[in-house]
Subunit: 497 residues, 4 copies
């Protein structure tokens, strides 16, 4: 058991991707693939020998594509190329994010259209397997290949710069020594191949997809609890009425939430007088469903990305050609993630509105701000500033960035996608939403406690219990800042799932 994952260059899934990044699953490469990578490498040399000009190999990159590179300078040129592309700033990315970036590049290397020395690919694999995580600053990419940041992985491979290793930051050289590895000597095209990849953004994006899906899974359970807090209407969860709408995500959400609410007192009520709850409740199946459908679309794009080429020029082994192309363009998924940012924006707004309703006697029939004693305890009043402030920040973060770029490199690079910034924004949005849902959970549990003896659904009960282990009923005012922190931690944890 705990067997290695064998990578083939053609069938990586997001789930597998996350397992390797987060669970540190060990990986290896199939022998067939290894053979193919060697042949691709040989082809590049053959073509160069025939005098075909090859971008980043026999001629320079960017505006310098009119400059010739001579073979005696290959090693130096490629080391310099790495140096010249280490142009970043800002906080180091989390190790998890660096792993994702390396894996995203490893995946496209394995497609076999790059033509680098196979040893280079092996270093990516080994860095992942051995937990050597180069220090990669966040900022520097315009999202048209993350050349200014992914270069820092190359820097570590040649034994320079810093890495995180076994919990410490140290010179790359030292970590390599501890693992009995030598710095790699780069050959022709290796430098370009290291930097010319959307690995940073793609890696972050793959993690986000998994995280958004899990968020919706949890948000559906939380919604079940909130609906119980509100004493709301379950008819919008009806199986048939959702089936006829024929939207995959909506059908899944309604099925899941009905399951979460099994045994809930909500199912046993007389026909409710409140024919229609506020939309932030009634429409959850549709909105969360729309998020899942969007994720589905983008996941298709990303799995295609991981299993096809992003290289320019592109090696066509069968045809023994190397061709200039646009296969590094990320517009398709840049657009997809911008859409997901707006999708998260809707999740955020719905959450804020649901939470406001839980504090309003008109909708709950409970006390104002869920106070256990309206005259004396202010309870969940001011907290409305807190979570609506976070939602407003989310509104700001949902503004697009994909259209803002310059024409650089002598006006030649006049298109970009800002994919890294998109991922940065969405990562922050997720954090805000965890926070907000923690607060919704505080409200929902308080509302449940304020009701007469009620029976919770099977799954909403688990969430309620998990929260109550950390945060007790609000019987008198206390600094909620600490409750918020704990609630967020509970919501982010997977233990209660």
């Amino acid at each position: 058991m705990n067997e290695n994952i064998v990578l083939t260059g053609s069938d990586m899934t997001i789930d597998q991707f996350v397992d390797i990044v987060r669970k540190n699953k060990k990986i290896e490469v199939s022998d067939e693939k290894w053979e193919e990578l060697k042949q691709a490498r040989q082809l590049v040399f053959d073509l160069a020998d025939q005098g075909v000009p090859i971008y980043g190999f026999t001629v320079g990159v960017g505006w310098n594509k009119d400059k010739r590179v001579f073979s005696k300078y290959f090693a130096e040129y490629n080391r310099n190329l790495i140096y010249a592309h280490c142009v970043a700033s800002g906080e180091p990315m989390a190790q998890e994010h660096v792993r994702a970036a390396m894996l995203a590049r490893l995946a496209t290397f394995l497609v076999g259209k790059t033509g680098v020395q196979p040893e280079l690919i092996d270093y990516y694999k080994e860095f992942l397997n051995r937990g050597i995580h180069p220090v990669v600053p966040w900022d520097g990419s315009v999202g048209q290949a993350d050349i200014a940041t992914m270069s820092h992985i190359g820097l570590a491979i040649i034994g320079e710069g810093d890495v995180f290793y076994k919990g410490k930051r140290m010179p790359a050289e030292e970590a390599l020594k501890l693992e009995n590895m030598e710095p790699l000597e780069l050959g022709p095209k290796d430098g370009l191949a290291i930097v010319s990849t959307n690995g940073q953004a793609a890696g972050l994006g793959c993690m986000l997809l998994a995280d958004i899906k899990k968020l919706i899974t949890k948000a559906n359970i939380l919604y079940a609890l909130s609906l119980e807090g509100l004493d709301g209407n379950v008819t919008p969860l009806n199986e048939k009425v959702n089936l006829v709408k024929n939207l995959k995500g909506q059908i899944k959400c309604s099925n899941d939430i009905r399951k979460h609410l099994e045994n809930s007192y909500l199912n046993k009520k007389e026909i409710t007088k409140k024919l229609q709850d506020p939309l932030s409740y009634r429409d959850v199946v549709a909105v969360h469903g729309a998020v899942l459908d969007s994720v589905d679309y983008v996941q298709g794009m990303m799995e295609n990305h991981l299993n096809t080429t992003e290289d320019n020029p592109c090696i066509l082994l069968d045809e023994r050609k190397i061709i200039s192309c646009a296969n590094f363009e990320a517009t398709n998924w840049a657009l997809g993630f911008e859409m997901l940012g707006l999708a998260l924006g809707h999740v955020s707004r719905m959450c804020a509105h649901r939470t406001i309703k839980l504090a309003n006697p008109e909708f709950t029939g409970l006390s104002r701000f869920l106070s256990p004693n309206e005259g004396e305890v202010q309870a969940y009043q001011t907290i409305q500033k807190h979570f609506t402030a976070l939602d407003s920040e989310n509104r700001h973060l949902a503004n697009p960035s994909t259209l803002d770029f310059y024409a650089v490199a002598g006006d030649i690079e006049d298109h970009a996608n800002n994919t890294v910034q998109i991922m940065k924004r969405l990562t922050k949005m997720m954090d805000n939403i965890y926070n907000m849902m923690g607060v919704e959970m505080l409200h929902a549990a308080q509302a449940v406690d304020l009701r007469e003896e009620i029976t919770l659904g099977n799954d909403s009960k688990k969430l309620y219990d998990a929260l109550r282990k950390q945060v007790r009923f609000l019987d008198k005012d206390r600094p909620l800042t600490f409750d918020i922190e704990k609630a967020k931690a509970v919501f982010m944890s997977d233990e209660w799932l």
Copy 2:
């Protein structure tokens, strides 16, 4: 021939939708469907008789859902409901747009989950067939059902308000008389059904999908011409190198453009020295392809919309139930169209950058600003302000609006999608892009004329010829405002396609 289109409520396509709206194809409804609509109607009455409270039928709508409606007031209540929902302002929508709105509602009526009197549905069909187009102001919907605007269609149906008919604006009453139709007397639930639909946004959206697809078709031909103007590199169009990327849209674009360039001098060139053109040229297959893939995703959403229910409550005929639900939510396609806005933003930016390059000797080897005589003719210099200004406006229009809404109706309606505003923005973006592409075309044709005798591709030649019929070579400065107008008209016309 020119047979009627028989609508079934389950298989409407975007192409069919556009045919009915633009080509005034006559429509009819299948007999089976008619029967089903009658049964659905009967069910509503049966349930009401059993005392089931029905939203918009036996009880009020919105915050007034706690008010009871008595049967003797059905006609009056429903007329009043139409009145009370006519709350819009702004320019009247174009007749084409009104047709689209009516058809979008007709389509979801035909799904059979509404329970209105079948005669009402017939009026939508007849208005389309006879060209009776109610005056519907643009502004009033928050895109959570277009209740404040779609009501104006109901107003015409009861013989009030104005319509456009045979080229004139006149009172609805008058147009009905000319067509020997009576104003319809509304029954219970009819009022709600008329207004409670996303028809305005959905209709506009369906038209946009068709228009964006056609835009890309044309933009690919224009790109072929521009590439000839630039004397650019065709390798990024290579079949195999695009196939390996495995993106449907990109494969289609590269195939199409190669076809457009058949017989072009570009195919006959020696291996170019310019190994890599600017990205605004090199990446067109990827960016236009990404647009097509996005359209594809949204088209799936819209065709599902047209062929499933958007009604709340929803009639389930088999189960003899009427159920409160969220099936009117448009978040899934609201997100999709926001994505398309950003997609159009990329199309716009690429066009602007391509056009700038055509005026730059460094990229074309031609004169500065494509002047026929640099010392005396200023040619395409200042025009860069024009088309970059339009692109800047597009950048602004691409800002999202889906997240900006209020909690209204006593805080119950606390979610919305702003779909109509999204469509308004995209419609304006399209117009700007037509303008910009007209200008790109002026540049491309001028560049082509400035080259030594060259042979154009089969399709780019057609575009070139179509332009040159309207706008002649710029031999000396003349007010380009008029050339721009003509070029836009040529580009928008389908004659040369």
Copy 3:
């Protein structure tokens, strides 16, 4: 009486500006100024004779600044320059806007730093005095001098293109003939001077300043009426409590509103139980005051603009020099108007929230949605969609555009301000706010009518009466679309002021 306004080039105010544009006040130029303009003209020739290279005179403009212009081609070069700068598209600007654009340019001509032939300046004056209004399309400027649009004024001056004249669109040549004017022959530097001006944006901006100030004047009266509708609290209008805050705009607003409410029943109430009204009421003095303070800041910028130079190069008559400079930069007021866009955004949001409150029994003590009969009349329910939709559009229009521009003209023009687009957005926002305030007025008047006999304030009474002349009490549901249109017209009219 009705004497001409004598322009001096140094003391134009916004009020004067608006009088000339809207009231068609006749203008003349002082003799001293005329003499100075001749001297400036002579200086340019003297310097050119000395071989000093002069931008747009002896050398080309933009990227062509390295090209020499020979004197025998002056006339042709300058006509061509006009032609080459006519590169615009879109709807023709309103005649009022064209007048504003011409006057804005005339104002900076009169500063005397341009060095054009004085006859040219006379044509601007005469066009204004005689009502000859060139057709100027909206779109084409990036707001770094409106060269692509202001050129159309030059086109008319040389007798080409179209103009509006006495209510008709006609060829410029024809209008000139009817006025016994000859087309002007352009001399050196004239072409550049005609186009190189921020006249379009500055003219629109000056009108906006006047309009925003008037909007606040009216909005304060409307607020008085709404406060009466709400039965709200007047303490926030207290003189002393506003004085201590020491903000000019807030002090003015509180003083004005107190005056508007003279004799109102609100002043005679017992100490209210509602200690604090919603902020959309309580904070009006502060928010409207902030708008006025912002306008004040921008007005200072614009009056400075009208009375100093915007020309490059700049003539320094005293020093007998002509100097390249940055005096055409509009960043200072571009920023100011972007701020005003956000200020209008707050006005819009406050209006929406006030209107929502007027329909809510909890705040008014009146019926739901101000219905005269809750069971039967739905009244102002759905209208909440209408005005919140307009506010959402305003939220979108408040997004900035000043930072979105390209590097054009061979990368030399790598800064811009997008001033025209800013003005376009604000102009549309104003229109939406007129609409929204019309709707607020409908609510306020209805609320007033629903109260027991109350006495209105002196000024709020005038507004109430003006509305009630056009729109009667809503006793039963009727299509509100028509009421909205009338209410907007009333609010925009100045008769009741």
Copy 4:
């Protein structure tokens, strides 16, 4: 010397503010002021005794304003009020920022309209003087008083929560003990007064104003160096040509830059052939000047804020009244800071464009990307991705947030300004600009080194020398990530100023 600063409640300046925050200048309060504060306190008790309902004193706050507070519960009620308002999350603010927040609140306390116990005010003073800095999380305020965050200062004052003290984080109780201070017992109105302040945003804003002014001071020196690197034109700096434009900021910038360039080789050149440099150079005086003018406007607002009241209700000592008001509204400066965000956006874009030009032989006459050896050293090529990525992030950060808020607290608090989020965005923009200007400096110094022996201006020389002490000439490629970090540190340091 190093005398205490005596605060009077009416004459605090931004400079003084920064001195107290950053230089830890000790403060005291004048005796007269102390007396007045006591009288204000007494007035509140007198009025309460007369039965006047006082918000936050005898009645509750927010939606609970209809609840009565009884005097025996004053201490408990006010402690609970602090608890109930501690509802924040996110990173702790920097100690400097917490000092600024405390000082901003202290300043408005000293105006004397609050009516709290004077001892409370003393704690703010002592916390500043003794360096006791409560832990205040960043997020929680919607910028309509920062009640959810400023509460944490109150928490420390009553001896709860954590503080930073002498470099360590510790319980507030412990720090108080170390300073021989007792936790304060809160009296009536104290709780409300602690939280009901815009102190967090105002404090951050005051610091930003000082920082932006210093940024422009430095940016002008950097511009001088860049102009020397470009071999640019000094005519736009001409004294007279800037004077005639009559803009205070522009005049100052041109005067300063001329001074920075004293002795520079640029002043000794023959009349340049390049008549007009790119606008990113030519227009710096105007754009930086516009920033200063904007800062000036906002500084007036903020100094007014610090020296007038922000309290509601407001004590009017002379009139012996306490009045409900809108004096807490921050719309005036919220708008101002949004404008400053766009102003910084222009600074950022100009910097990016200037830096691109320095790498372009067409503008410098130097090598491509300032390479010391074009064939072998890639130099400043990829770095264009880095700084344009930062500028794109700035473009995103410049999007406004002031209009995005909810109606909370039972719909009563239906206006807000999001001031804290505005400050957060601008603080991040500043950091990005420091980074970008560090990179511009790297370019400028490299360009200077590549020129034949040239003499630098007096001040640009100092900047050049400061950089060269940390970063040597780029003779071959090296990882620029480290150079960027050092250059940023140099630029942020004040030593070379």
